[in-house]
Symmetry: C2
Subunit: 480 residues, 2 copies
């Protein structure tokens, strides 16, 4: 495990290019977030024309700072960076997070040369570089971040992202959905520290239980693949790969100067290394939720409780399309549900499309879930609540339903997934927001559609199946 302590637990951070304008990008991305999250180390704005910035004493040069700085954020024009790196070497700084862009990603001779020069000075001087063209470190536990709306709470997920924008959006999207991060890094062009270093670090980090990544290109393919396979053997690694098509590959080159590589080769490697792949940031959040909130289901058999005939058909189709199964409940169980469920217009075979009378009665709703949860033929429970009608018709009962669900959920050891179907309707989304916290607190991940839930759960099951299989193979090999 590489020692990146100086990066994730710096005693001090300097921001070169901090400005007297509080809305400058350097201030917005680095000083304000540190103040917002209450960073415990020392913050040194560096600007030759100011003596105070955002209430902090500012210094003209890195060399004027009265201590050796662990992490220097570089937010000045690209052509000025080699000189800054030289100063950092002289000042015994440990790392430079190079926010500045205008390097290899421009595809032009000058930028390529500049990046090479900068990296070379740093290498020789013993300074590590993150970036250029990145946002750097996220470690909310110590108040270190580039996103002031980050949660201060820590969690089990660490991420690496070649894109700063994606890193920020992942933090915002995931936080709202109940995901908390241990650490994260936006590493841009990866001129020095690269994806292999971060995967290796997170794989060995005891606070990290799940590794999430947005990756455009690979700097050291053999080393990265070794690291990745080793990492994934210890904890789940979920990757969004940017640049899987011709146009995407071209966009990658002008974004971080990376070589995206062949899609086919990448897909094969991921399968071999038991890496989970997703297709968007939202899916990345979907999967992280499943991997952090749920114990692995014992199998693929889903019991679905919800309401609405069309919605039930869709839920069943979505489950089976994702490789899950929706077994028919035994007739005795259907009979037991029927005893308190009016018959007209409902299907109780699974999905359990219960009647409105039962659906809106917390006691009967809980009773239905309890019966399904008790059936040995299902491995995971999907509770599907349609919020579109409830929101538009101002039915305020949803909170009561969740309360009932939480009660029942405590009695079963099967994973429970909650789908709050909103159809993208703003009033339904608002209603979902108000009840999501209840679900998360009880340990149930929440999805806005059955389809999103099924993909995440299928990924979770597949990861653990593969892992077990590998475990068995290895013990066979040992026996031989």
């Amino acid at each position: 495990m590489p020692d990146l302590e100086f990066l994730f637990n710096p005693r001090s951070v300097a921001i070169v290019g901090a400005s007297s304008n509080p809305d400058s990008l350097a201030n917005r991305n680095f000083i304000r977030p540190l103040l917002a999250l209450g960073y415990q180390g020392r913050i040194y704005p560096v600007n030759p024309h100011s003596s105070e910035i955002m209430g902090l004493r500012a210094y003209a040069r890195i060399l004027d700072i009265p201590e050796e700085v662990d992490n220097v954020v570089c937010a000045i024009p690209a052509p000025l960076t080699p000189k800054l790196i030289e100063d950092c070497v002289r000042a015994n700084a440990k790392a430079v997070t190079c926010y500045s862009a205008g390097f290899s990603e421009t595809g032009e001779e000058e930028g390529l040369k500049l990046e090479k020069t900068m990296a070379e000075i740093a290498r020789r001087g013993g300074v590590r570089i993150i970036g250029p063209n990145c946002l750097g470190v996220h470690h909310p536990k110590v108040g270190l971040t580039f996103e002031p709306n980050s949660s201060r709470d820590s969690g089990p997920v660490s991420f690496l992202s070649q894109s700063g924008g994606n890193a920020r959006e992942l933090i915002l999207i995931a936080t709202e959905r109940g995901i908390r991060f241990s650490k994260g890094i936006s590493y841009g062009n990866a001129s020095d520290l690269n994806e292999a270093d971060f995967v290796e670090y997170f794989a060995g980090d005891k606070d990290t239980k799940v590794i999430a990544a947005y990756i455009e290109g690979i700097k050291e393919p053999p080393r990265f693949l070794r690291t990745l396979a080793k990492g994934a053997a210890e904890k789940p690694v979920i990757i969004l790969k940017g640049g899987k098509t011709g146009a995407g590959t071209r966009a990658v080159t002008s974004h971080t100067g990376a070589l995206a590589g062949s899609r086919r080769v990448w897909d094969v490697l991921c399968r071999q290394a038991n890496i989970t792949q997703v297709g968007s940031l939202e899916e990345l959040a979907d999967d992280i939720l499943a991997f952090t909130y749920l114990r692995p289901p014992r199998g693929r058999r889903v019991g679905i409780v919800g309401v609405g005939g069309g919605a039930s058909v869709q839920a069943a189709d979505d489950c089976e399309a994702a490789g899950l199964t929706v077994p028919l409940l035994p007739s005795g169980l259907i009979q037991a549900i029927r005893e308190f469920t009016p018959q007209a217009g409902v299907g109780l075979g699974n999905p359990i499309d219960t009647s409105a009378d039962v659906y809106w009665d917390p006691v009967l709703f809980a009773k239905t879930i309890r019966l399904v949860a008790g059936f040995g033929g299902v491995d995971v429970l999907f509770i599907v609540l349609g919020l579109i009608y409830a929101a538009k018709h101002k039915i305020g009962m949803v909170g009561e339903q969740i309360k009932a669900l939480v009660e029942v959920g405590r009695e079963t050891d099967k994973p429970v997934v909650v789908v709050l179907r909103t159809g993208g309707l703003i009033e339904a989304e608002q209603l979902a927001c108000t009840v999501r916290a209840q679900c998360l607190e009880a340990g149930y991940p929440v999805y806005p559609s059955v389809r999103q839930a099924t993909q995440a759960i299928a990924h979770l099951i597949l990861y653990h199946e593969n892992r077990e299989q590998k475990g068995r193979q290895q013990s066979c090999e040992t026996v031989r």
Copy 2:
């Protein structure tokens, strides 16, 4: 074209099973919606125990109503329906919309028999039946609906839905996204009038430009397929098919008693008939938006203007994965954009990941779009606005950007698609709501992700390509 005037333009509607409790399902689904939308015909609640319901004079029996009723809504227990149908025959009613459930969808002998009996009485007596197990007619132009939150405005889309819940959700989801309906029908078990009748009617209806459908099973396969192919030759038909998997098929049977049929056969038939298939209600709304707001693009080449490196890579990948292309802009054009765009950290080759300075300046943003729109090598424009950062950091400029976009959009004859990326974040969704109306008014459909947009646009292009090809084949055959 079947004459369904009595159904869509009834002079009077009776609701049998209306109740003195204003919150009863019959009142909520039928009387309240008619009052809310200002139905112009006469409304007759029927209940033997009330003389007035929701301010309307009520009648004890259908036979007591002082005129021949065009549409009788049946909201009484299933076993009582044969007697009601007999009364309707005697009272010369034209149609019965049977909301009641408990018929063939139960899978039980009694329900099957009841449905057969009811249909037989109606057939002999010359009364048409919609349903049972349905919500009936939606025709906002005359104030006829089962959903009180429907828009009163008419539009070019008509739908048929075997599921009442899906019909309602489609109305709510689609309305919020800017889709307006001409007519619609929720037709449940289809014991008499079925999917073929409605497709045929909408195909011949001059107010219907696009037909949308949720279908579980087919009552008269040969007739339906003929009708469908004929309908799709005249106007786009977009179908969500419920029951495409084993469990979905089983759910269909207990939902509307229908036989879902083979997925493979269905897929082949849709391809042959140039039917557009979607996988969810949200996708149905996505496609309707594209088919109603956009003229068919001349080709598949997309020009993408937005911001964010990672977001640009994702947009390019999503486009090509959906079969669209993202051509590299010519160097002269890139040079022209570069003249006013700071170079660092942006990619201008297409996607145009413009810098924040340009992005947040309406004049420069418009200038960028104008340059791309003027390039003959792109057929359709995607304007991708990331709202996650804007919403969280309270940047209120998005409205100005849309204004600038509308200005430029007027100058080009290329279809313009707006993506307001929200990542499901509630604050971003709220921001999207406030600016969506501006886009819709200018004629631009709005999507929450590039992926959703690409699928809809790819469907639109494919439909028109197939249609042209068929047209050419036919004219060849005529020549021969």
